[in-house]
Symmetry: C2
Subunit: 195 residues, 2 copies
Amino acid sequence: MELKERQLEIITAAGEILTEHGLAQLTTKRLASKMGFSESALYRHFSSKEEILVTMLRYLAADMDKRLRQAIQNAEDPVVQLKTVLSNQFSFFKRNPHFLIAIFSEGLMEDSKVVNESIIQIMDIKKSYLVKVVKKGQADGSFTPGVPAEELVHIIMGSFRLLLLQWWFASKSFDIKQKGEKLIHNLLTLIKLKK
Amino acid sequence: MELKERQLEIITAAGEILTEHGLAQLTTKRLASKMGFSESALYRHFSSKEEILVTMLRYLAADMDKRLRQAIQNAEDPVVQLKTVLSNQFSFFKRNPHFLIAIFSEGLMEDSKVVNESIIQIMDIKKSYLVKVVKKGQADGSFTPGVPAEELVHIIMGSFRLLLLQWWFASKSFDIKQKGEKLIHNLLTLIKLKK
DNA sequence: GGCACGTTTGTGAATATTCACTATCTTTAT
DNA sequence: ATAAAGATAGTGAATATTCACAAACGTGCC
């Protein structure tokens, strides 16, 4: 990630606008105003608004990938790994709520191909880590083999996303970490094998 | 639902635009063009674009409510009821893919309060039916009592929504009914009690 | 030290386009 | 004749982007 300082400031400001006002309000006017300079100055640092969005997404994707890798490295037990990965994700979104827009939109709102592809890529990264962990858990008898790993991950990710959506929609008024832990516990209750 | 014929035509056309081009492309210009008349003619039938959206959503909500009630009435066994309700939903969205926008957006894209509230209402209707069925299933020993009914429904709806999202995003290229049935089967595998 | 020269980062005005919406006229059906 | 349903031709506001230009700063040269 070869990001200049000013570029980082801009995508941070863009993130704050997303968090506070939503995607529709992320305009060049508003962004420039938040940065304290004119709209045209934006184009000294990015060639287009699309590039700003894509840069922001890629930056976050890189950060997320790093976090996921670490979360898996620090444990051996698949149950612990799964807990850590999911818990970690909730922390991430708690700190970067604007990123939720990316997760939810996923091709619905943005006409831009490049933006959409960046978003898909992020989802794929997440999925691949989860599948890896679940497969391992099925192999060592921690998780139920009754449902294929990909399908289990689908169920996990789906309920995960829905919780985040509800959180966003409730204006982030409840503690996402706490409800997240409860969801993780419930999911584990369903997929863990009793020994 | 006191809908005039022309109004129904308009919300149907709006639905087709949503399906084919997405929410951002649902403009008065495009809608009027699809209807074969001028933009201003729209305002003979609706007072605003917002009213068109809300009418469309309310129409959907009423239809969905009717379908869900019937689906539950025709069976006694909670397992069959759950299967029917979900299967029914997949059929519905297969026939009315534009309403997926409602399911996905949920307050993210629309600035309008009225629109958002209509969307929430739809989700609440769905949820209440599912909770009813799941609670019954837990009471008669069909489903696991290890996870509260509301939380089970959360997991069901979350994975359900994600599948629909993927279907939309894949340009409806795979058979949603088939994958839906598989998901239902997987979910039941997880929540059914062995007797 | 002073000076020409290029780069970076900004400004303010102007661009074309799109949007939802409206005032005013005309057609059409009953 | 009347009222509903349409067409024409506009409105103002918002959008992303581009333009010519300028202040500040560093760098090499005499």
